[in-house]
Assembly symmetry: C2
Homo-oligomer: 303 residues x 2
DNA sequence: TAAAAATAGTTGACGCAGTCCATTATATTA
DNA sequence: TAATATAATGGACTGCGTCAACTATTTTTA
């Protein structure tokens, strides 16, 4: 158990960290958006085929409040609404160019502030603090989160797959011709999905999707591993390995002899997972049309 | 510099920790008080000779808002106001018994929640997380806080000295006959204060008092070290040692041959500072009237 | 020593984030 | 075909927190 001194330390940590948060928050407020509005905008940018209802569920915000916020965004030209072809109740929300610009501004404010705080530290301290944060996050999350891995449902497809696009690529500042490419391969994968030869699993944290992995048949002997993704807060906690184990088990079960995957050089953390599971790099391929110096790599494993 | 993965990790940490905070906050809100009200009540309980203005400055809250809050507290019987004898503009705020009860309830909610989160961890993990928190707090604070050590002013006396009482003793669950004793020695010290033979320094963090140390002349050869105190978030960052260095330097300068201090056994962190500066324990003294199993110790150093 | 400026506190008016409830329109289910 | 669920909107309201004006007292200064 904790001593009185240690409890005081923890409350001291809370105080200091809350103070930091407050600074970031007030910087955001100066941009003219509320914190809730910021969250909503960021969520819109992360969500393909976004609807008001998805936002309501994802962020636990009141329906009417959301309705008014969206109306305001539309009025200010940040978003556009398009009627769904299949369900007339639904109006899809899409960011305009101006909206994207505003979001960039907002996330810049946020990350610049974090950057400023960390830049005051020495290179060494930066790494130490980062490690400490990862440690705390992992320990505290493990103790409180409810984690499940489940098969995908129709509702996951548009939402989580688009997330994959955001996290796996946008984090690495890829752009341009790339976005359309991902759309295409994702929808093609789902269209051709066959439960006998393919797999698409969702890692769920407290009821919210937080990661994914997929296996796609190429031929009777070969499968491709795809859409391997983890939300930042789920990383380095063993969930990546669990998803990978599950996927490779499926491949062995179905009699695949070889599994390959395509990734890019910068994807450091994921690479670690690939290596520990026995994948090895077989080739590199320049993909500078996706971004400066991006190199696509092909990794394989023999089962 | 940070990699994209590391920045994502930090934002993941923010997300997880903010979530934890939100839980604590909503637990507080269920008690029927706003978060601001909770802060105000806690500040009142920590501040001897508390006035509305002190609260306004300390918590950066609007005058009118504070006025209404205090009126509400008074109406609900949590506090009592008494007119100052020396300045008719000032009304002192004092907690009633009911008020103290409510504060205990509030801080119990807070620390129970923290306790619950940590109790889900193994003993070992608890220590690891605690260490990580201390580390982050220290590194981030050092980079952002403006620290000064300055002589005391009249306005510090009532405020900071009462803080000493709270932190140094209340944290350790001392009670009863003790409170009056501290009041007495503090006011006696200030009354007899002589800048030639005594010292009382305030450690200030971002303009807010966050620690103190004092030297009181006993006779021409002997001085007593008193009121050595640090706010929890300032501990383990070397400020304790800096205060101590300064105090002992003063003693050497003034020609004292011996410095002693009285402390209690549970004061683990402070003891470490005493030891590293060359103090040694000379006697123990049962003080169970201050609390269960409390033992007062006398430490000395020869200069 | 009288006027000006600062300090402590109160009161009125109000903005605005966020909530609750009712309503419309469409889709799904029984 | 009626009953129920879902998507979204609009009206009314609560209440935290802010701004500004005002009283009363003390301190400064000219």
């Amino acid at each position: 158990m904790f001593s009185a001194d240690q409890i005081a330390d923890i409350q001291g940590f809370n105080k200091v960290y809350q103070n930091l948060m407050k600074q970031i928050d007030s910087a955001i407020l100066k941009t003219g958006y509320t914190l809730t509005e910021k969250d909503v905008l960021l969520e819109i940018s992360k969500t393909e085929r976004c609807t008001a209802n998805i936002l309501i569920q994802q962020l636990s915000i009141d329906r009417s409040y959301m309705s008014r916020m969206i109306a305001k965004f539309e009025k200010h030209g940040l978003i556009e609404k398009t009627q769904s072809q299949t369900d007339n109740r639904i109006r899809y929300i899409r960011l305009t160019q101006l909206g994207q610009k505003e979001i960039n501004r907002l996330s810049d404010v946020q990350s610049n502030h974090i950057g400023n705080v960390f830049n005051k530290l020495s290179e060494e301290d930066q790494q130490t603090v980062w490690q400490a944060m990862v440690l705390i996050r992992n320990k505290l999350s493990d103790a409180n989160d409810v984690i499940t891995i489940r098969p995908f449902t129709q509702s996951d497809i548009e939402y989580v797959i688009s997330r994959h696009k955001t996290l796996y690529y946008a984090e690495r500042h890829l752009s341009g011709t790339f976005s359309g490419y991902v759309d295409e391969i994702v929808y093609r994968f789902v269209e051709n999905f066959n439960p006998e030869s393919d797999i698409l699993k969702i890692l769920e944290c407290n009821g919210v999707p937080a990661g994914s992995i997929a296996i796609a048949k190429v031929n009777s002997e070969t499968a491709q591993l795809r859409f391997f993704m983890l939300e930042p807060e789920m990383r380095q906690r063993g969930y990546g390995n669990r998803l990978m184990d599950m996927a490779l088990d499926f491949c062995r079960e179905k009699g695949y002899k070889k599994v390959f995957l395509l990734t890019i050089t910068a994807q450091v953390v994921a690479r670690h997972v690939y290596e520990t599971h026995g994948f090895y790099k077989v080739s590199s391929n320049d993909k500078s049309e996706w971004g400066d110096g991006v190199v696509e790599e092909r990794w394989e494993i023999m089962l």
